[in-house]
């Protein structure tokens, strides 16, 4: 059953106001030049409807940067598992970030399941928002097929080209209840659906494959690239700061750390985001490191986006959001890396002939 409703642009602020009365709402908010962040909002005026990917993706709500797992008491020899969550609505999630959440869902529901993540995710309502424009030169959402909505939301907003109306897809019962409770939506007409189609048609014109290889070609390209020269180049440039993994919507690696209180008896064990770009990450006790070189660690990051998950989950873990390239201090660029691999492969094939 396909269900669409519409919301007048002039009712948008009121919609967010009513939404925020149901539970906490977060949405993209402007933060200086070309920077945006998901933050709590209470009115539509706070929200940037035109925005390029936020500094941090919405994963921060699904797997917090610091999450307490266990409380302990040394004297009593007690360990108490801990799981904290908050009811939340995320408004304005672009299709790239919806894909990112879908990737995380797959990882954390893979056995053994991560209950902390799975409980929290079901307390979060997701309202997607369609990109009518192309973000910038860093984005590569088309080649990984994330430029159009592909599920993973409760409601999905598309603004018409005239920018006077939102056409809203209701995808779940939770989404339907948000529509019902805010009482601002009307049923769609045939005319509205044509407007939706017009948006999608225009997107076909704007969104083109960003690299010199297509969707199907990405995995084989990366799978063959272990010995490629590109990694030597990245080895020289990467400063191992970990920015790329922090801002990635599908990087989920973490460290587990114990904190002890001043009583030296009670404390918490927590997990926090970690980065495979640091040398310590894969070091075992005794000092052996299995990815000693920065180039190896960059290669590992790329393989985790384009090669390994394709084998394990049958999808790419690169959402095409472009955050890693946008944030890199050494100007390592995902599209350039991919195109360099394409070039290198062409040369190898050329030499073989």
């Amino acid at each position: 059953m396909q269900q669409y409703v519409t919301l007048e642009k002039e009712d948008f602020n009121e919609f967010i106001r009513r939404l925020a009365k149901i539970q906490k709402v977060v949405a993209p908010v402007k933060r200086g030049v070309k920077n945006f962040a998901f933050e709590e909002v209470t009115s539509g005026e706070d929200i940037s409807l035109v925005y390029i990917p936020t500094i941090l993706p919405p994963k921060k709500y699904f797997m917090p940067q610091r999450e307490e797992l266990v409380e302990y008491n040394k004297k009593e020899k007690k360990w108490k598992a801990k799981l904290e969550y908050e009811n939340l609505t995320i408004f304005g999630v672009h299709t790239c970030d919806l894909a990112g959440i879908q990737c995380l869902n797959m990882v954390f529901s893979d056995k053994p399941k991560d209950i902390n993540y799975l409980v929290r995710k079901n307390k979060i309502a997701i309202i997607g928002f369609e990109c009518n424009f192309y973000c910038d030169e860093y984005a590569s959402c088309k080649v990984v097929d994330n430029h159009l909505p592909n599920g993973g939301y409760d409601l999905f907003f598309t603004q018409t080209l005239e920018e006077d109306l939102f056409i809203v897809h209701i995808n779940t019962v939770l989404g339907e209840s948000l529509v019902r409770e805010t009482k601002l939506f009307t049923k769609t007409t045939e005319e509205d659906m044509k407007k939706l189609q017009a948006v999608r048609d225009r997107k076909k014109e704007i969104f083109k494959d960003e690299v010199n290889v297509d969707y199907k070609g990405l995995q084989p390209l990366y799978a063959k690239s272990f010995e490629a020269k590109v990694w030597e180049d990245l080895d020289k440039r990467c400063v191992a700061c970990g920015n790329c993994t922090n801002v990635c919507p599908t990087c989920y690696c973490f460290d587990v750390i114990d904190d002890i209180n001043l009583d030296l008896n009670t404390g918490v064990r927590y997990r926090r985001w970690d980065s495979c770009q640091s040398e310590e990450f894969a070091k075992v006790a005794g000092g052996e490191s299995f990815r000693k070189e920065r180039g190896q660690r960059q290669r590992h990051r790329y393989m985790r986006k384009f090669n390994y998950p394709f084998k394990n989950y049958n999808r790419y873990f690169c959402t095409g959001c472009g955050r890693c390239s946008r944030t890199c201090m050494a100007k390592i660029n995902l599209k350039e890396t991919t195109n360099s691999l394409v070039e290198e492969e062409k040369q190898i094939i050329g030499n073989e002939r």
Binding site: Y72, K77, A81, I115
Partner: protein
Amino acid sequence: MKKTTLSESEYIIKEGKIVKIRKLTEYEKSFEIVLAGGESLDHEPGQFVMVSIPGVGDAPISVSSSPTKRRSFELVVRRVGKLTDALHKLEEGDSVGIRGPFGNGFPVQRLEGNDLLFVAGGLGIVPLRSLINFVIDNRRDFGRVNILLGCKTPKDMLFGDEVEGWSERLDVNFTCTVDKSDPDWKGNVGLITSLIPGVNLDSERTFAVVVGPPVMYKFVIKELLKKDIPENQIFLSLERHMKCGVGKCGHCQIGEYYCCQHGPVFSYDKIKDNVEAL
């Protein structure tokens, strides 16, 4: 709006009581542990547990005892990092936190009925011991058993009495070597690879199980392949850094595999093309 807290997660930690500590060498101690309530760990040979000390952290430690011993299990720990340092300071009667067992363990069912060649280098004997003792406890279910053991010096030899027991058994061929001898040593001197050519085996029905430091694998595998042991009959247990034990934290990743979930035991054919494995 308020945050809600539940007390459930996969990070449930069981209390393990240390009932016995043995000092094996200057750096290694053995800890015999009983779970609270007398519950059996119920592990497979080659699996590991995450050992927790509150305020210090947790780390993966392989179980060294055979599951045939059900009431307690043994961990053998070299003092080499933060957690193992703290572990070495504990005394009998103290407790640690235990999660697990984790990992796939050795493929016991596949080994049954076949000849076995165990190759242990250095600390590799610690996890391999769980399988060797399991095989000895179920001796008639397996074919010929060869054990090759190597360590740096005679002083580094772990489980001296037990190893002597293996060497005296009629149903086990046991050979050991040290890299560097001392005046009292009467056995072989040389790297463990030097022992492999001399083993008399039927390659078709031999499964080799190899555990040792990373540098050892390449050389041992080369010798085993020379003996015509098929690639899918060579099993290795790999060591990696781990934080969660449940295939999420990413630290133990070896190419497309998580060492804690898909391993730590891998057959050679599965990882020979994996550039990060060996």
